[in-house]
Amino acid sequence: MSVDEHAISEENTTAPDGVVARLKHPRAIRWLHWINFPLLAVMIWSGLRIYWAEDVYAFGVGSWQWFVWFPEIVYDKLDLDRHLARGMAFHFAFGWLFVINGLAYVTYLAVSGEWRHIVPDRKSAAEAKGVVLHDLHIAAEAPPQGRYNAAQRISYTVVLVMAAIIVVSGFAIYKPSQLYPLPLLFGGYQGARLIHFSMTIGIMAFFLVHVLQVARAGWGNFRGMITGYEIEHPDGLDREEVAS
């Protein structure tokens, strides 16, 4: 902590001069983000009920399987087994809502110019490494960032790309005859199934890291996704106690 920080935190218990709330997440982003959350959850849940009926994916060599997607206990605990019909009914109904919400999100990003905060630039890859090292407390200093740091920009863009792949491969599985040759894009029907499943695992991995990072970043950051605003100090520090 620098001298200035002490000065500000001790100076006032209410908002000191120059402390403002700055808009970080526009209303459309907030709505679409939060609507996406339950829709994605329903899609993954119903998708796993479908996958259960033919759960063939595993890591291993030959007949030796190191990890099977999924161990029986996962199906048991999440009530995923023997619900193929319901899984499909939910998947093909909520799928439309998921796609519409996703298209609205991408359209808003494009039209509003908000994409500039998310799409990585030439230096993001190198900087993302610095962000990770900083987050792991290996590097003292974090690379420069805009609204989002380089690792966030890359993750948020990659997850959008994964979402696009999951939707297109999903349609390839859903209507492989009517939409032929779409499945060829994924190496055929079974290829589309594998990619659709892999993207699901990828998005679940993103979700896990996302939640961990949000928990680490603290209340002010999380509240920002609900209210849109984050408290900003003149020197750029977040001092949550000011507004809470």
Partner: protein, 315 residues
Amino acid sequence: MTNDHDHDHTDDHTHTHTHTDDHDHDHADDHDDTQTDDHDHEHADDHEHADSSMDADAARVAKLRAQSRSGEAISVEAFRSKSRRSFVTGAVGVLAAGAFWNYVQTKSDPIDGAPGILRKTLRRNEAVWTSLVNGRSAPEFDLADAEPIQPNGSVGLSDEIDVANWTVRVEGPDGRLLDELDLSTFEQLPQQELAYEHKCIEGWSNVTHWGGPRFRDFHAKYADQVGDVPYVALETPDGGYYVGWRLDEILHPQTLLALREHDEPLTSIHGAPLRLASPNKYGIKTLKRIGVIRYSNERPADFWAERGYDWYAGL
């Protein structure tokens, strides 16, 4: 993922700060130089031309800085009241989502084992796909690429089958018997060989080879008699398994009344002596051991549709 103060100190004076301008001036002079130097020092060895990269880096930091300060700034008091409203909206949203979920799961009357609203959506999906791209064909494969198909389900096949004395009843929409046919009728129609990727609703698929007449060639004889009838129902002889098809879809040239699988007469478990085969429907629609072919004005009952699956089941 919060802002990091190390580079936040390298503030600039160019942006639309309202409340923060004065404060920035107070501190900026102290920090701008040192922080910029530190930053460049760190990255200098990454670049061959440290001088020009120093400018570029500084410009980039300024640009990123501007991005993070591009949002509208409001007073903390205004924020507090906005914040309260946002949380109330959020809580209402959570309750509404919960109520909707509860409605979908339990309150929308189930139709054939599926929550009503979902069953209606499946019907709408059917309308979308049958009007959008209906009638397209699945890719076909070399016969040499085909492999025998695994047996998967024996509903309606529990009785012994006597192929020599087997007949299929053909019925009109009014229930009138149009014909009772033995195997020779189907053997005398033009024969097709078709290899396609058979898809089970469970998720597995394999390239299979079927032989027999097209349904449309069988239908030609009855076309005038039945007219514009929209549906066809098919049943096993014991009535244990039954499927419904739209007429336009069962008339697709890739829908076969298969007599052979993998160049051999159908075995009992695969539906001897006559079954449906189509690459454009899940396997659940390709009824084995056909006993009745009935033209229908009503949407026919369907064994798996009555158990929660999509009636259309089109691919």
